[in-house]
């Protein structure tokens, strides 16, 4: 197993290089790089522009520039944010953790909710419960998440206005609580505020995944080895959860690799709508101000997450699928 992981990590390198190189080119292709913007800004002096030019080798061709950026990246220097006048590492940390909170809660919800629903629907197809789940799945698949988020906020606002209930209307923490709280109280506060965006974030995923799992499980339940197991007198629960589900989950696990980066990307709209201080609002402001190193850092981190997610899903597959062995 270990040599396999080592080989996979080695394979990261070309993929990461290509992905970041492409992103770098695209960022540079955008009309007017940040230097032209700086030159028009009377408060940034030519010497500063020159210093930045040298520091990042911006007087070089783009490919050479890319290797300057890569060299800095490998030594942990993500460059300097122009808006904050601080290193990107310092600026990006908080928003990254905030996005991760949404994604973690979302991922847990995703599996905890979609697997039981999928199995239930497969075991009792066309029952009232199954029809109900199907009905809601189509609604949540059809409605754009940001629009649904707006509806939820509207609903929460009405509850607060009419009943005086204190609703977590966006932001990460409540403005009504005193600043000094025990850690568990602040954590609970953050959780409450993260709940609505996390749920909306994964509703779509839950809807499609539970439908998908329903189909998979039904197919597996009809196969010979399941019939054999039943014939041997294995209990129904064991048949469903040990034999059938394990096989049905394989495609789900394979999709896990794309989940982390997809959720970070997908959290975007919701972070904006719910005023959650995550990566997307930071990235949007960076885009608006052509804060190039923040953009590049976010791209690089998403790429790394994608690669890592793929590795993790492959490893999980080997655990769950006896046909797969890595050497």
């Amino acid at each position: 197993m270990l040599p396999y992981i080592f080989r996979r990590v080695l394979q990261f390198i070309p993929t990461f290089l290509l992905a970041t190189l492409l992103a770098f080119f695209i960022v540079q292709l955008a009309p007017g790089d940040f230097l032209s913007q700086l030159k028009e800004n009377p408060s940034v002096r030519p010497e500063t522009v020159e210093r930045l030019r040298r520091e990042f080798g911006l007087d070089q061709p783009i490919i050479v520039q890319y290797f300057y950026w890569l060299k800095n990246f490998l030594t942990g220097n993500l460059g300097q944010s122009f808006q904050y006048k601080r290193p990107v590492t310092e600026v990006i940390g908080g928003p990254f953790v905030n996005s991760l909170i949404l994604v973690l809660i979302g991922t847990i919800l995703h599996y905890v909710v979609s697997i039981p629903i999928g199995v239930y629907s497969a075991v009792r197809p066309y029952s009232t419960g199954d029809k109900l789940f199907t009905f809601f799945s189509y609604i949540f698949l059809g409605i754009p998440s940001f629009f649904f988020a707006l509806l939820v906020i509207w609903g929460m606002l009405k509850l607060q206005q009419n009943f005086g209930w204190d609703m977590p209307l966006g932001n990460k923490t409540s403005s009504k609580l005193p600043a000094d709280l025990p850690w568990w109280r602040s954590a609970w506060d953050v959780f409450i505020h993260a709940l609505a965006p996390s749920i909306i974030l994964v509703l779509r995923g839950i809807s499609s995944e539970s439908r998908f799992l329903r189909g998979q499980t039904m197919e597996v339940l009809g196969q010979d080895y399941v019939r054999t197991a039943r014939a041997k007198g294995v209990s129904e629960n064991k048949v469903v959860y040990k034999h059938a589900l394990r096989t049905a989950l394989i495609p789900l696990i394979a999709g896990l690799g794309g989940l982390l980066p997809a959720l970070i990307g997908g959290a975007g709209f919701l972070e904006v709508v719910f005023n959650w201080p995550g990566l997307t609002p930071l990235n949007l402001t960076a885009l608006y101000n052509q804060d190039i190193y923040i953009l590049q850092a976010v791209t690089a981190i998403s790429t790394l997450l994608y690669l890592l997610g793929n590795l993790v899903s492959d490893l999980l597959l080997s655990v769950i699928d006896p046909r797969i062995r890595y050497h």
């Binding site: 007017g32 009377p42 408060s43 940034v44 002096r45 500063t48 808006q83 904050y84 006048k85 601080r86 310092e90 908080g94 928003p95 905030n98 906020i153 606002l157 607060q160 206005q161 009419n162 609703m167 209307l169 966006g170 932001n171 990460k172 923490t173 403005s175 009504k176 600043a179 904006v272 709508v273 719910f274 005023n275 201080p277 609002p281 402001t285």
Partner: protein, 593 residues
């Protein structure tokens, strides 16, 4: 005037020992006896604050400015007069260039150290340092000549301006002290780089030393800033009954980057002050207040905004039929008469605006010249003038033509991002069609549009007919379009916004006339005389129509019932209101319980 100043001077000298600044009772609707002290004002900002360092801050609003007491002078929000604030008194030399300030005794920084003349010298040294490259750098120059600041003794500061100029008063209200004991040791050991690396947004609030009524308690990135009362501020700032200011214990500035989310926060009662920026938001606030969902005060159409929208024609030369036509004042007068400003206000601004006729924003009520609306909407008058220009016949397509067969047709450009300007352009297009003038509209990116307006490298003719654009901001002491808008020659150094003529030559007598009047006004310290000059300039503008003004939007303010201490209604305007706190002085604001 001089005598009055002398009497005022004598009075302040008589009580100069530890004389606090007393906030006039006229600045708030409340009497000091009604006020309850303590409590928190909850407000909102559209973006995350990025730094606490006044020297590197480039954003607006920014935290350093909100934690600063002010400058040597202040401007009265009710009377517009300038008064000594951090100075207990001051004198102005006979040539009006030198100001000598007696620093108000008893002032202290938030760490308890006294504020002295040295702190203004520090401010001057650091802001005018090229390597620090602060945003305030340029304000230390008037026409490229530096302003000089020196210390006479520990209680006296001298500021020398290169020439007599009323903008000196504005400079002095913005000239704030910076704590010498914090910045100078760093500047001496580490230089400009050292200063730039100080006071980032993650610096411990204990290390941030400010002069204002509130100091930083904590900053939660992406969420909110919590400010707490500066205990030393009340020692030298009192209300009209002698009570120490501010009344509030703390201020909470919530970071809500989305305009709709801001509205939600106000409708939910989570924030106390809010300024709806369009008709929809205004309507929602009104509906919520009418239904008693939130209890508060709403002031719609409080005043105009300090911004304008106008049409400018390309008058670089008279070589072509079009530039010759545009250079003729009769054409521009006729054009002004087809601009249906009332329709613009009703249809595009939803009734929330007012027509404009001069470059002075309508919010400056006292400065607007009467009779500037000489060429208001009047299609019959426009047709008459166009006839005089030789456009007497209409072609088969309904467009006027002159004897040489030239069609009365041109293209009006505005930026694609701006729905309001596009609405204005459509109204112009419709009305023009009725009199036989064909206006083609073209909506392009803002940067592309400003590129078209910029001067060509050798000041050749620019390639556009007419552009619909606007200006914002400007001076309060002399609210007439400034040098970069009116200067017509020497354009490399200024006049970059002299949009109708970028040929670097003054082509029309009215251009020179305006410039001469403008500089005369800038040297005039008498308010009434300055207003008379502003009137003259506006009359030229109204006659010549170099910029055909359209309509201005209005501002609206809302606050919850618990928020008290706002300005009297007559003083509520976009000029006096603060971006974060609304139409009030934060030090006189209090929370009703």
């Amino acid at each position: 005037m001089k005598k009055a100043l002398f009497v005022a001077l004598a009075m302040t000298l008589g009580s100069s020992l530890a004389a606090p600044f007393v906030y006039p009772a006229s600045w708030t609707t409340n009497k000091p006896a009604e006020v309850q002290t303590g409590g928190t004002l909850r407000t909102v900002n559209l973006q995350d604050f990025k730094t606490l360092n006044p020297f590197v801050s480039k954003e607006s609003p920014n935290l350093p400015a909100y934690m600063s007491a002010g400058g040597l002078l202040g401007q009265d929000p009710i009377t517009d007069e300038y008064y000594p604030y951090m100075a207990s008194s001051y004198t102005q030399s006979a040539d009006k260039k030198t100001f000598t300030f007696n620093v108000r005794p008893g002032m202290k920084w938030s760490d308890g150290k006294p504020i002295t003349a040295d702190d203004w010298v520090t401010s001057y040294t650091l802001y005018s340092n090229k390597d620090i490259g602060s945003n305030g750098y340029d304000s230390f120059f008037i026409n490229d000549q530096p302003i000089k600041v020196s210390k006479v003794d520990s209680d006296t500061v001298k500021v020398v301006f290169p020439k007599a100029d009323v903008t000196a008063l504005e400079f002095l209200t913005g000239f704030e002290p910076e704590p010498t004991h914090v910045f100078m040791p760093v500047f001496k050991s580490k230089g400009a780089e050292g200063i730039k690396n100080m006071w980032t947004i993650s610096t411990d609030p204990k290390d941030i030393v400010v002069s204002g009524s509130f100091m930083l308690d904590r900053y939660q990135r992406g969420e909110r800033a919590l400010l707490k009362k500066n205990p030393y501020f009340g020692e030298w700032n009192k209300d009209s009954a002698g009570k120490a200011l501010p009344y509030l214990d703390s201020v909470q500035i919530n970071v809500v980057p989305d305009a709709n989310a801001q509205l939600t926060q106000f409708l939910a009662g989570n924030i106390d002050v809010y300024a709806p920026d369009n008709r929809d938001k205004l309507a929602q606030v009104k509906a919520a207040m009418d239904a008693k969902k939130i209890n508060g005060v709403l002031i719609p159409n409080a005043s105009g905004r300090a911004s304008s929208d106008f049409v400018v024609f390309n008058m670089d030369d008279s070589a072509t039929f079009k530039t010759k036509l545009f250079s003729n004042p009769k054409f521009r007068q006729a054009f002004s008469m087809i601009v249906n400003r009332d329709a613009m206000v009703d249809l595009t601004l939803g009734g929330l605006g007012q027509p404009t006729y001069t470059g002075v924003y309508p919010v400056f009520k006292d400065w607007l010249a009467t009779g500037a609306d000489k060429y208001k909407f009047n299609p019959a008058g426009a047709i008459k003038l166009l006839n005089e220009l030789g456009f007497t016949k209409k072609g088969p397509d309904g467009i006027l033509v002159d004897k040489a067969g030239n069609k009365l047709e041109f293209t009006l450009i505005t930026n694609a991002e701006n729905v309001r300007r596009q609405g204005f352009a459509k109204i112009i297009q419709d009305e023009a069609k009725k009199v036989g003038m064909k206006v083609n509209t073209s909506f392009i990116a803002f940067n592309q549009m400003t590129d078209m307006l910029d001067a060509k490298s050798n000041f050749g003719r620019r390639n556009f007919d007419a552009i619909l654009i606007g200006l914002t901001n400007g001076s309060r002491v002399f609210p007439i379009s400034g040098p970069n808008v009116i200067e017509c020659s020497g354009l490399a150094d200024g006049g970059n916004l002299h949009m109708f003529n970028q040929s670097n030559k003054c082509r029309f007598p009215f251009e020179t006339q305006t410039i001469n009047l403008y500089w005369k006004g800038r040297a005039e310290f008498n308010l009434a005389a300055r207003k008379a000059i502003a009137n003259q300039i506006q009359r030229i503008e109204a006659e010549q129509q170099p910029y055909v003004q359209l309509a201005a939007q209005t501002v609206h303010y809302a606050w919850t019932d618990r928020t008290q201490g706002e300005f009297p209604r007559s003083a509520i305007s976009s000029l006096t209101a603060s971006t974060l706190y609304g139409p009030r002085v934060i030090d006189l604001t209090w929370i009703k319980r």
